[in-house]
């Protein structure tokens, strides 16, 4: 089976690199970006199947990045990461086409489950 191709976007370097390692240990192919602009460049040039996207980032917000990803390629599935007390961002994101949202800090098994569901929904 092909490895699931993931783009992980978060401005917290330590978070994003460690989570990427954990996902790679679970046989996923992970790219990382630390801001919206870098994420959009990767979406254009090397489209992932699933984007895991933090909502609260400096520069382009997660919701703005989500809208732009969907405009570039509507098949790419986006899972949003929100902070506690920011569930309205998650709901707004789903209205904008996000597959789902998770509250940070996340549970890795729950994230994997969502990623698999997101990939299945693309078929």
């Amino acid at each position: 089976m092909d490895r699931i191709k993931i783009l992980l976007v978060d401005d917290e370097k330590e978070f994003v690199t460690t989570l990427a390692e954990r996902l790679e240990l679970r046989n996923m192919n992970v790219s990382i970006a630390m801001d919206g602009e870098a994420a959009l460049a990767l979406v254009e040039n090397d489209p992932p199947q699933v984007v895991i996207l933090d909502v609260m980032m400096p520069g382009l917000s997660g919701l703005e990045v989500l809208e732009k990803i969907k405009a570039i390629n509507s098949r790419i599935q986006v899972i949003l990461l929100t902070g506690h007390g920011a569930t309205k961002d998650g709901i707004r994101g789903m209205q904008l086409g996000a597959f789902d949202y998770l509250i940070k800090p996340i549970d890795i098994e729950e994230l994997i489950k969502k990623v698999n569901e997101a990939v299945k929904s693309m078929v």
């Binding site: 330590e14 978070f15 460690t18 954990r22 506690h84 007390g85 800090p105 890795i108």
Partner: protein, 223 residues
């Protein structure tokens, strides 16, 4: 509360809410880092790492503390957002559970257990969140000041003769002889609680011998 006071409270709330997001990011990094260590241990063959069990035990402790940190910061975040809007619909069960998590440390310093006893069905009132939280905190402080060490304070929202009531009651196995309600109602803190209750359109009463403060609240207020 006058306009400037409201602005001050909102300012503290905004800064605190922002900081709780930063703390959450720190917890998220600790969680992923310890999770990665766990992942690596999982793929390490038995015997290849002589202290594996001790590491797993230690990682479990870290996970427990991360969860504790998440619960506290989530609660602090909700608390920090309290000044955002007023009046709002408030579930008294949520308010009491939140205060238990935030104020338990104050009780622990006197060896007192703080817990909530939620009402079923939940009671929802339209009120000022900051002042309601302050009233609950003041009542807990009054009880802690009036009692000796040990025992339990239970926060229990309920209806008494169709009126919405928030109760803060103290229990201890030790026999309470002195007239604590009389002692409580003559303190400055009691006067302060009554001032807060007046702003909320309600009143506080204290009953004994094991003291219970009952805060009678209107179903709706206009602030």
């Amino acid at each position: 509360m006058n306009h400037l006071k409201r602005k001050e409270v909102a300012f503290f709330g905004r800064i605190t809410a922002g900081i709780t997001h930063e703390i959450k990011n720190v917890l998220a990094i600790i969680q992923e880092s310890s999770g990665l260590m766990e992942d690596i241990l999982d793929i390490t063959e038995d015997g290849a790492f002589p202290h594996k069990d001790k590491f797993i035990k230690s990682l479990n402790r870290i996970h427990g503390q991360i969860q504790r940190g998440i619960d506290i910061t989530s609660c602090l975040n909700r608390f920090a957002h309290s000044p955002d809007r007023s009046p709002v619909n408030l579930d008294l069960n949520d308010i009491t559970e939140q205060m238990v998590l935030l104020v338990s440390r104050f009780a622990r310093l006197k060896n007192v257990v703080l817990e909530s006893n939620p009402s079923d069905p939940p009671i929802v009132i339209r009120s000022d969140p900051v002042c309601l939280e302050m009233a609950l905190f003041e009542s807990i402080e009054i009880l802690l000041k009036a009692i000796d060490s040990g025992g339990k304070i239970t926060l229990s929202p309920r209806k008494i003769q169709n009126q919405c009531v928030l109760g803060a009651g103290y229990e201890n196995t030790v026999l309470i002889e002195e007239d604590i309600p009389a002692k409580i109602s003559s303190t400055e803190r009691w006067a302060s609680l009554q001032e807060t209750m007046a702003f909320l359109g309600g009143i506080a009463k204290v009953f004994g011998p094991a003291p219970e403060i009952l805060m009678y609240l209107p179903e709706s207020i206009d602030v």
